[in-house]
Amino acid sequence: MRTIHRIAIGVLVGLFFASGYAARKECARRQAALIVAKDNKAVFEGTRIASTRLADVSGDVDIRPLETLYTVLNRLREHYVEQLTVEDEGKMTHEAMRAMLAWFRDPNTRFIEQPERRVVLDAEHGKFHGIGAVLAIKQIWRPSKDKPKERVSEEHLVVVTLLPGSPAAKAGLKPGDEIVAIDGRDVLPFDPYQHVSDLVGTDRFRDTTDSQKRKMLDAEQKRIDEGIGIVEAEALLTGEQKKAVTLTLAAKPPAKPTRLTILPQDMVVDVVGDPRMETSTIGYIDINYFGSTTADEFAQALRELQAKSAKALIVDLRGATGGDMGAALKIAQWFEPGRNLAVLIKSRGRKTVIQVPSTNNGEPWRKPVVLLVDRGTARAPEVLAAGLREVGAAKLVGEKTYGNFTDSTLIDLADGSGIVMATGKYVTAKGYDYNGKGLPVDVQAATSDEQMKAAIKLLTGGKS
């Protein structure tokens, strides 16, 4: 009897243990489906991709395109007039990836060569090259003229912001400037022939003589032959080359395009400037770039201001860029630990709530905060500003931000090159989408001085 009892109890204990385990698993599964934004910086640094279960897609991999590519490669190896080397194949792989990703016509999706990859890495640590400006490829879609069902795109190389003290800033380049030519070479959009197609469709072209038409087309061809691709242009201006470049900037007619000559130089930017007391009670922290050391430097600056018993805080995000969401989260941790900062919308309808980690490194800041932003505020700083504004942790002063809420992922390839791919879009926790529009501010102010004054007024006014 006793033995049977014991066995029964043993089995019951086992069963309960198992059901407890199962219950926990189920809870974990549900929770994981909701949020995976733990205090794990690596998750946000372009490596998130590794967590995607590849098994999800292997079922619908189409073998035929692969077979075609494979056959082409084999034919080349067997028959091409020159014997192909391993180096040839490395080059072929690069060009294949470049062409394949260019198919998307997406400024956030592209192949990057080793030097560009190094530039990305350097930026994470506050090291910059080239003219010292953060550039962006601005894309505009419109319906095609000759094929009404299709849409065509047009790309512009624009200056988002200038790094403080950079050659570009000294030369007088301004945020919002559009670079139309470099050293006299036209900056070409993804499809350089679109312009030609448009030209051919105009009445001006139709009504002219054949020899005039020929001349116009030849001129276009020359422009294209001598031009520089927009991606290449961006890489040139932010890369490690040191030769002086002459930029031609777009101007609204009748004004003539202006030219600027800039000598590139390597520079190190303080990702977070030295904190100071703007008034006796208001502390000020300037963030220039969201990279790998930004969060720690910010924490240190904030502690200094706390020690000086600041009663209010201005965080200057004007001209701040960078894609490090980990930094944004860690900074948010000082203001709204545990709250939801944003929602990341991913492919195939997947969503991830981006939750600010619970605090673990000091007392959070619960006093008034103003974030200074302008149209040079882009990417991770924008997501941070949008999130803090939405939960009421901060007011925004300045100008509408740039409007790049895309999430892109960097995949490193074995030879040091890489692939940048758009993998999602951030919206606010409540679902507001500012991508391509820019984040509105609470108090509009145009010049730097006015912005600072408005911020101080808001902080002191709020108290009285």
Binding site: F16, L69, L76, E82, D88, T93, E95, M100, S211, G416
Partner: protein, 482 residues
């Protein structure tokens, strides 16, 4: 009683503890191994990619293998790409293939998607099925018949030049791209297509039903260019499977009109099939090699004149060439120049001394791969250099190849033939030579005489498939009709 109670309580407590422990176990693990696993999976990615390159992990010593890299990137795209454009794996792969080929730096090694491959095959065969009308768009963006080709279904149905097409099979084509209209009109042989047409001078639009047939491209145009001196003119547009036969017919017809001299016009001829070039050259050369193919590895295979094709009299001959005469055109003009059987007039040719083989792919696309070089019979490599004419004549600014009055190069070629025929003194050509010297000192390519290395006739490669190879058109819009 109290003992039973205690026992029951003990069991319950035990069970609760078991449940809690069971519940908490993964939590304990999550603090350790789960995060570890998470990290490991994050770190695995670069490692996995790295391992594709070989054993070493130093990036500078790595080269990326194409297929593996493609597979990994394609997987990532399909799993995670977020953007406006829906992923089209086929198009992505085609662009990857185009990139792969571009890396070779050889503009002639290129990819053809199924549609362009089909079109190329049709062009090489020298025919297509349709109604045989050349279409264009007019000022009002309407599609109209520029010319019904002679002896085609369109011609027989009474379609006239300048008929505007309003609808195809009752479906309005308003605003439609001309290439899409062509697609609608084309179809399998012996099927019907109904066109709604508007004809200038006819009040009401009317319908015509036409039976599609196989239509032959005319590759050759000919006429007697100089009636007095009996100098014939033959223009060859391209080298396809019909070219040689049509040339033969043209020469026979001109001979029937007592032709005494000939101008062969290869201007603007982008080339075509290798065998067609050999056939055409055989009409003019008596013997010897037409071209030497240098295979991968350096082996040289000469291709000889096909003597049974040499069925025409030998007349004084001038060959017109320009910077668009390429590939097969250069084989023919190179052979004629080296042999001395004719005089080249015009400007230096394109300079394409590479032979492509077209290799069909499993999904009905194809790839043209440069598999060999060719040399002229004297062993000259003309690649990227072109063939310099014997008499350089720059085209006049207003030159219209279809209008003999504006064609100064044709006039010079006729003079060359006349000198050969003894109708003009040799000094009649001085003015051209002087003009050429003024133009640019005359770029002459010297012929290095090198004997063919190997005497064996053509190898076993699929020569039949050798390359049409229009040189890639530089400007996209120019490939539109007109």
């Amino acid at each position: 009683m109290s003992k039973t109670m205690r026992n029951v309580l003990l069991v319950v407590v035990l069970l609760v503890v078991a449940f809690v422990v069971g519940f908490e176990v993964p939590d304990v693990r999550a603090n350790g191994t789960d995060i570890g696993k998470w990290r490991a999976s994050i770190e695995m990615m670069p490692q996995r990619l790295r391992s594709l390159g070989g054993q070493s992990t130093d990036p500078s010593t790595q080269t990326l293998p194409l297929i593996d890299t493609y597979s990994v990137v394609m997987e990532q795209i399909k799993a995670n790409y977020y953007g406006i454009k829906a992923i089209n794996e086929r198009e992505l792969t085609y662009d990857a293939i185009r990139g792969t080929l571009r890396a070779l730096g050889d503009p002639f090694t290129r990819f053809m998607d199924p549609e362009s491959y089909k079109k190329m095959v049709e062009e090489n065969e020298g025919n297509f099925t349709g109604i045989g009308a050349q279409l264009d768009t007019n000022k009002n963006n309407e599609v109209y018949v520029k010319e019904p080709l002679e002896d085609t279904p369109a011609w027989r149905a009474g379609i006239k030049a300048n008929d505007v097409i309003l609808a195809v099979n009752g479906k309005s084509i308003k605003g439609m791209n001309i290439l899409d209209v062509v697609k609608l009109i084309r179809g399998p042989a012996d099927t019907k297509v109904r066109l709604t047409l508007r004809r200038p001078g006819v009040a009401k639009p009317f319908d015509k039903t036409i039976v599609r047939k196989v239509v032959e491209f005319r590759m050759v145009k000919y006429r007697m260019a100089d009636e007095n001196a009996k100098i014939g003119y033959v223009r060859l547009y391209q080298f396809n499977e019909k070219s040689d036969q049509q040339l033969d017919e043209a020469l026979a017809k001109l001979e029937a009109q007592h032709m005494k001299g000939l101008v062969l016009d290869l201007r603007g001829n982008p080339g075509g099939l290798l065998m067609s070039a050999i056939d055409v050259a055989s009409r003019f050369l008596e013997s010897g090699p037409v071209v030497i193919i240098q295979e991968r590895g350096g082996q040289r295979n000469p291709y000889y004149v096909e003597e049974e094709k040499h069925n025409h009299k030998r007349y004084p001959l001038a060959v017109l060439v320009d910077k668009s005469s390429a590939s097969a055109s250069e084989i023919v003009s190179g052979a004629i120049k080296d042999d001395g059987v004719g005089t080249l007039v015009g400007v230096t040719t394109f300079g394409k001394g590479l032979v492509q083989t077209i290799l069909p792919l499993p999904d009905h696309s194809a790839v043209a791969i440069t598999t060999a070089k060719y040399l002229t019979p004297k062993g000259t490599d003309i690649n990227k250099k072109g063939i310099a004419p014997d008499l350089t004549v720059e085209p006049a600014d207003n030159l219209d190849i279809t209008d003999p009055k504006t064609d100064n190069q044709l006039a010079a070629a006729i003079d060359v033939v006349k000198v050969k025929m003894g109708l003009l003194p040799k000094s009649a050509l001085d003015k051209y030579e002087k003009a050429a010297k003024v133009a640019d000192g005359g770029t002459q390519v010297t012929d290095k005489a090198a004997p063919p290395g190997d005497d064996r006739p053509g190898g076993s490669l699929v020569r039949r498939r050798h390359e049409p190879d229009a040189k890639p058109k530089p400007l996209a819009p120019l490939s539109r009709p007109r």
